[in-house]
C-alpha cells in the first residue's frame, strides 16, 4: 500500500517535472498573458437553478474583470458527478473554471466518484442556502415542535421530498430526525429530481413536507401557497426575516447547501492568483456591471451568500466534508438508502416486455420485413467503402480533435469526404475553406460553443 502510494507520488512528481520542463519555454508568458482566450465555467447543475444563476452572474462579472469572453457550460446529470469531474479534471491552464457544490463533499462518501474537495484549488464560496422545511398552506403543522411530536406518535406516516435519495436536502431532514432521537426513516422520503418538481408535488397534495432551501421556494412562499416551518441556519436569513430558525425552536441543528468556484489541481500559482484576485474584487462589490454589483445581483435573485476566499474556503470545505461524512456513514442513513423499489426493477420489467414482444414478432413472422431501400440491389461496393470511410472519419475526429484542434481535424475530414464522394479536388478544397471557418465562427464566436482548440491554440 505504502509502496504503491510512493510510486504514485513519484510518477506524479515526474509528470509534474516533465510538464514543467515542457511548459518552461512558454509557461512564463502563458501565465503573464492569461487570459488571452475565452474561459469556460463548468456548472454541474442545469439551466435555471440557483447554481446556474450564480455561475451565469459570475461569468458576466468575470468577463468584465478579465476582458475575455466567459462561457458557462452546464454539464449536468449523475447527481453532479459529471460536472464536478469535468470541471476538476480539466486541463489546469486556467481556461476551465469549476463551480463546485455541496455534493462534492457527499458523492465520494457514497462511493459514486473518487474526486473530493482535496482535488481542488478553492477560490471563493458564494451561495450558502440553509435547508428549510415547507408544508402546504392548509397543513395542520405550524411549527417544528408540532411536527416533531406528530412524527414521534406516527412514525412512517408522513412523506417528504426535495431531491433524490441521499441528496443534500434528504440528508438535512434525516439528520434532523436523527438529532431529535427519531429514526431516519420515520418520515418516508420520496426521491425527486430537484426542488421545483418537489414543491409542485407538495402544492398538489402528493407529499406532506418538502425540504429545500428558501430561495428555491421563493415564488410559492411569497404567494402564500406554502408555509415554512423553520430554517436550519444559525441566524434568520436577511431575505426571509419572518422564518424562524430551528435554534429558536429549541433544536440546535444547522445544515446548508453551498456553491463556490474552484480550479483544477496543479493550476499554476500566478493564474490562481489572477482568478482569485478578480473574484475577490467581484464579491467585494468593486466591479460594477450595469450599475449593479455582484452582491446586489445575488441579493436581488434572493440567494443568501457567504463569501469565503481561498484558505478560508479550504478550511470550510474540510470541516463540511467531515460533518457530511459523519452523517452519510452513520448506520441510520445507510440502512435507509437501501430500501424501496430496487434499481433493477424497472429495467427488468422493460426486458420482460421486450421478450414478450420478440415472442409475438416471432409468432407473426414479421421480423424479416426489411425496409425496401437498403437491399442487395441498391447497395454498391463503392457505397460500403464510403460508409466505412464516414464511420472512420467520425472516429478520427473524436480521437484527434483535442490534439489538433477543430479547424485542422474537421477541415481534413471534410475535404477527404467531399473528394472521396466524388467532388473534384479543387472544388472540395474550396468548399472546405469556405465552410470550416464558417462553422467555427458560427459556433465558437457567435454561439459561444467552445470548439476544441488543440495544441496550436486554434
Amino acid at each position: 500500500m505504502n509502496q504503491c502510494a510512493l510510486a504514485n507520488t513519484t510518477v506524479r512528481l515526474m509528470l509534474l517535472q516533465l510538464s514543467l520542463i515542457l511548459a518552461a519555454g512558454c509557461s512564463s508568458d502563458l501565465a503573464e498573458n492569461y487570459p488571452d482566450r475565452p474561459i469556460s465555467i463548468i456548472c454541474p447543475w442545469s439551466v435555471g437553478g440557483a447554481t446556474d444563476r450564480t455561475s451565469r452572474q459570475l461569468a458576466v462579472f468575470l468577463e468584465q474583470e478579465l476582458g475575455v469572453p466567459v462561457n458557462v457550460i452546464n454539464a449536468t446529470g449523475g447527481r453532479g458527478v459529471t460536472g464536478h469531474s469535468r470541471g476538476l479534471k480539466a486541463r489546469p491552464d486556467g481556461y476551465t473554471l469549476a463551480i463546485i457544490t455541496v455534493e462534492l463533499n457527499m458523492l465520494h462518501w457514497q462511493d459514486l466518484t473518487s474526486i473530493s474537495s482535496q482535488d481542488t484549488i478553492p477560490v471563493m464560496s458564494f451561495v450558502d442556502g440553509a435547508a428549510a422545511i415547507f408544508v402546504k398552506n392548509d397543513s395542520p403543522f405550524h411549527n417544528m415542535q408540532e411536527l416533531q411530536a406528530y412524527v414521534k406518535q406516527n412514525p412512517g406516516k408522513l412523506t417528504a421530498t426535495g431531491t433524490a435519495s441521499g441528496g443534500i436536502w434528504h440528508l438535512s431532514l434525516a439528520g434532523w430526525l436523527d438529532f431529535s432521537g427519531l429514526k431516519a426513516d420515520d418520515i418516508k422520503w420520496i426521491p425527486m429530481n430537484g426542488a421545483g418538481p418537489s414543491l409542485q408535488e407538495l402544492a398538489s397534495g402528493g407529499v406532506d413536507l418538502v425540504c429545500c432551501s428558501l430561495p428555491e421556494a421563493k415564488t410559492l412562499y411569497d404567494s402564500g401557497q406554502v408555509r415554512c416551518l423553520g430554517v436550519m441556519a444559525e441566524k434568520p436569513l436577511p431575505e426571509f426575516k419572518k422564518v424562524p430558525t430551528f435554534i429558536s425552536q429549541g433544536m440546535n441543528w444547522n445544515i446548508s447547501g453551498w456553491n463556490g468556484l474552484a480550479l483544477p489541481p496543479e493550476t499554476p500559482q500566478p493564474i490562481v492568483d489572477k482568478v482569485s484576485n478578480a473574484v475577490k474584487k467581484i464579491t467585494s462589490g468593486k466591479t460594477i456591471v450595469q450599475g449593479k454589483t455582484f452582491p446586489e445581483f445575488m441579493r436581488a435573485a434572493g440567494l443568501s451568500t457567504r463569501y469565503r476566499a481561498d484558505d478560508q474556503f479550504a478550511l470550510f470545505l474540510k470541516t463540511n466534508d467531515e460533518t457530511l461524512g459523519k452523517l452519510l456513514t452513520s448506520d441510520a442513513f445507510r440502512k435507509m438508502s437501501s430500501r424501496g423499489t430496487g434499481p433493477l426493477v424497472f429495467p427488468g420489467l422493460l426486458a420482460a416486455a421486450m421478450c414478450v414482444i420478440f415472442v409475438c414478432l416471432a409468432v407473426q413472422k414479421k421480423v424479416p420485413a426489411l425496409a425496401p431501400d437498403v437491399s442487395s440491389d441498391t447497395v454498391t461496393s463503392r457505397g460500403v467503402v464510403n460508409t466505412v470511410l464516414v464511420l472512420s472519419c467520425v472516429v478520427a475526429y473524436l480521437l484527434l480533435a483535442e490534439k489538433l484542434g477543430f479547424l485542422l481535424t474537421a477541415g481534413s475530414i471534410l475535404f477527404l469526404l467531399l473528394w472521396k464522394l466524388g467532388t473534384r479536388w479543387w472544388m472540395s478544397i474550396l468548399i472546405t475553406l469556405l465552410f470550416i471557418p464558417g462553422i467555427y465562427t458560427l459556433f465558437a464566436q457567435l454561439l459561444r460553443v467552445p470548439l476544441p482548440r488543440g495544441m496550436f491554440g486554434w
Binding site: 439551466v47 437553478g49 415564488t219
Partner: protein, 513 residues
C-alpha cells in the same frame, strides 16, 4: 384592466422593444434551425444580455426567441431529417417523405402557418384563461404524471408506421437506453461499465441527431450510385419558367390558407391538446406533439398516409407543439412553477429583476403591465414569424438543390458539431455515432425511430414516477386512487387492450350472425 393594456401596448410599440423582438426572432430562427442547439440553450445564452435590457424587453426577447426557434426546428427536420427540436421528432418521417417527393416547401409552409396559428391559439388561452386554468398544475401528482407519460409513450408506439408490435419494440429500446446512467431515484449507477461520462446517461439530443441524421447519411452513402449521387431534388410545385411575382410565395404559401380552413377542426383540436399539455409542468411540447399526432391519425380519413408524408399530420402536430409553448407560461406566471426549462429560466430572470411570479403580479398594476406586455409579445412574435419564417424557408430550401455528394459530408459535419455543442463533450459525439449505427440497423428492420427518441426523453421521468408511486404506497391499486389518475390510467390501458380485443369481438359477432 384596459388602461394597463393600453400602457402595455404603448410600451411594446416603442422602437427599442420592437428592435429587440426583431433581433431575437432572427436569432431564434437561426439557433432553432441548427441541429443540436435548443431553445433552452439559446435562452440561456441570452441571460447575460437581459441584465442590460429593461424588464419588458428582456422577457419579450425570450418569448420571441422561443416561439421562433421551435418553428425553426422544423426546417432541418424537413430538409435533412435531423429534428431541430425533440418535438419535431413526431412528424420527422412525414416531413422528410414530403421532401423526397419534392414538396419540402409546401411542407414547411404548412409547418409555418400552422405553427403561427397554434402559437396564436396558445397565446389566446394564456391571455383569457391563465388564472382559471393555472390550478390544473396543482392537480398533478406523481400518479397523474405516471399515466401521462404512459399515454405519451403509448401514442408514439401506436401511431408509428408499420406494425404496432414494432412500434412497441422501438419504445422498449428507447426506454432501455434511458435507464443507462445514474438512476435519479436510487442514486445507483446502472449500465455505466465504469465510464464516468455514462453517469449522466444518454443525452437525447445527440441520440436524436444520430438516429435520424447520421443514419440517413449512412443510408445515402451506402446506396448511392455515382450517377444518382449527382441527382438533385427540384421543387415539384413551381414550373421553372414561372416568372410572376408570386413565384417565390407560391411554393410556400400556395394552398395553405384553404388547407387551414379545411383543417380548422384539426387545428383547433391540436391546439387545445397542446395548450393543455403545455400547462402541466414537466410535460411539454414533445408529448403534446405526439398525442396530437395520434389523435389526428385516429380522426383522419386517410390514416394510411400518416408517416409517409401526410400534410395533415405535419399541420396538426406542429400547431400542438407551438401552442404548448404559451401553455407552459401559465403555471410559471400564475403560480411561479416553471412549465418547462425555458420558463424556469424566465422565473430566474424575473426574480433578478425583483419581480416574483405568482398571483401577486396580477394585482400589482406595474407588474400587470408587464404581464400584458408578455401577452402582446406572444402575438407579435407569432405574426412576425410569418415573413421571417418565409425567408428562412426560402433560404433553407436551397439546401436540397445541393448535390448529395456535397450535402452528405456537410450534414456529417453538422451532426458532429451539433452533438458536441449541446454539452461541449466528446462523449456525446460517441453517443451520436453509436445511435447512428443503431438507427440505421433499426430502419433496415423497418422499426420506427420516433418512439425510440421519445422513450429516451421520457424514460427517466417514467421510471421516477413509477418508483415514487411505489414508495408512497406498495400497492399497484394506488395508481388509480385519484380521480384524474384513474381516468388517465383506464384510458391508457384501453388504448392497448381495445385493438387486441376488437378482432375477437368482431369474430364472435360474425359467428353469431
Amino acid at each position: 384592466m384596459e388602461s394597463t393594456f393600453f400602457t402595455a401596448l404603448q410600451n411594446i410599440a416603442s422602437p427599442e422593444v420592437m428592435l429587440v423582438i426583431f433581433l431575437s426572432a432572427v436569432y431564434g430562427l437561426f439557433v432553432g434551425s441548427i441541429p443540436g442547439l435548443t431553445a433552452t440553450m439559446a435562452v440561456a445564452l441570452l441571460i447575460p444580455l437581459t441584465f442590460y435590457l429593461d424588464n419588458l424587453s428582456a422577457i419579450a426577447a425570450i418569448v420571441t426567441l422561443e416561439a421562433c426557434s421551435i418553428f425553426a426546428g422544423d426546417i432541418p427536420t424537413t430538409l435533412v431529417r435531423i429534428p431541430g427540436t425533440p418535438s419535431s421528432a413526431a412528424y420527422t418521417d412525414d416531413a422528410y417523405s414530403l421532401t423526397r417527393q419534392g414538396l419540402h416547401e409546401t411542407s414547411l409552409g404548412v409547418s409555418l402557418v400552422f405553427s403561427v396559428a397554434g402559437g396564436l391559439f396558445g397565446a389566446l388561452v394564456l391571455i383569457f384563461a391563465a388564472p382559471q386554468l393555472a390550478k390544473i398544475a396543482f392537480q398533478f401528482t406523481t400518479y397523474e404524471y405516471f399515466w401521462l407519460y404512459v399515454l405519451g409513450l403509448s401514442c408514439a408506439a401506436i401511431v408509428s408506421t408499420g406494425s404496432r408490435l414494432k412500434g412497441a419494440l422501438a419504445l422498449m429500446i428507447g426506454l432501455m437506453f434511458s435507464t443507462v446512467g445514474l438512476s435519479e431515484v436510487h442514486s445507483v449507477p446502472r449500465f455505466t461499465f465504469g465510464f464516468d461520462e455514462l453517469f449522466t446517461g444518454i443525452n437525447f439530443i445527440p441520440a436524436m441527431i444520430g438516429l435520424f441524421g447520421l443514419s440517413e447519411v449512412f443510408r445515402n452513402c451506402l446506396t448511392s450510385k455515382t450517377e444518382e449521387g449527382t441527382g438533385k431534388l427540384v421543387s415539384a410545385v413551381v414550373a421553372e419558367d414561372d416568372h410572376s411575382l408570386f413565384k417565390h410565395l407560391k411554393p410556400v404559401f400556395g394552398g395553405v390558407l384553404p388547407r387551414l380552413w379545411k383543417q380548422k377542426m384539426g387545428w383547433f383540436r391540436s391546439s387545445c391538446i397542446g395548450a393543455t399539455i403545455g400547462m402541466i409542468p414537466g410535460a411539454g411540447a414533445d408529448i403534446a406533439a405526439w398525442i396530437s399526432y395520434a389523435v389526428s391519425k385516429k380522426c383522419s380519413k386517410t390514416p394510411e398516409e400518416y408517416g409517409k408524408g401526410s400534410l395533415d399530420a405535419v399541420g396538426d402536430a406542429t400547431s400542438a407543439n407551438n401552442s404548448a409553448l404559451a401553455g407552459a407560461w401559465i403555471p410559471a406566471l400564475v403560480l411561479g412553477i416553471p412549465g418547462d426549462s425555458v420558463t424556469a429560466i424566465v422565473i430566474g430572470v424575473l426574480l433578478m429583476k425583483n419581480i416574483t411570479p405568482g398571483p401577486a403580479i396580477f394585482e400589482n398594476p406595474d407588474q400587470l403591465v408587464l404581464v400584458h406586455g408578455i401577452y402582446l409579445t406572444f402575438i407579435v412574435a407569432n405574426l412576425l414569424l410569418i415573413p421571417l419564417g418565409f425567408l428562412a424557408i426560402r433560404s433553407g430550401a436551397q439546401l436540397v438543390r445541393v448535390p448529395r455528394r456535397i450535402l452528405m459530408p456537410l450534414i456529417l459535419m453538422f451532426c458532429v458539431v451539433g452533438s458536441y455543442s449541446i454539452n461541449g463533450s466528446y462523449f456525446d459525439v460517441w453517443v451520436m455515432l453509436g445511435m447512428g449505427i443503431i438507427g440505421f440497423v433499426l430502419e433496415v428492420f423497418a422499426i420506427p425511430l420516433g418512439p425510440v427518441v421519445l422513450g429516451i426523453i421520457l424514460g427517466g421521468q417514467l421510471e421516477q414516477t413509477f418508483v415514487q408511486n411505489l414508495t408512497k404506497d406498495d400497492s399497484f391499486l394506488s395508481f388509480f386512487n385519484r380521480p384524474i389518475s384513474a381516468g388517465l390510467g383506464i384510458f391508457c390501458i384501453a388504448l392497448w387492450l381495445v385493438p387486441m380485443i376488437m378482432p375477437l369481438l368482431r369474430k364472435k359477432i360474425q359467428s353469431t350472425t
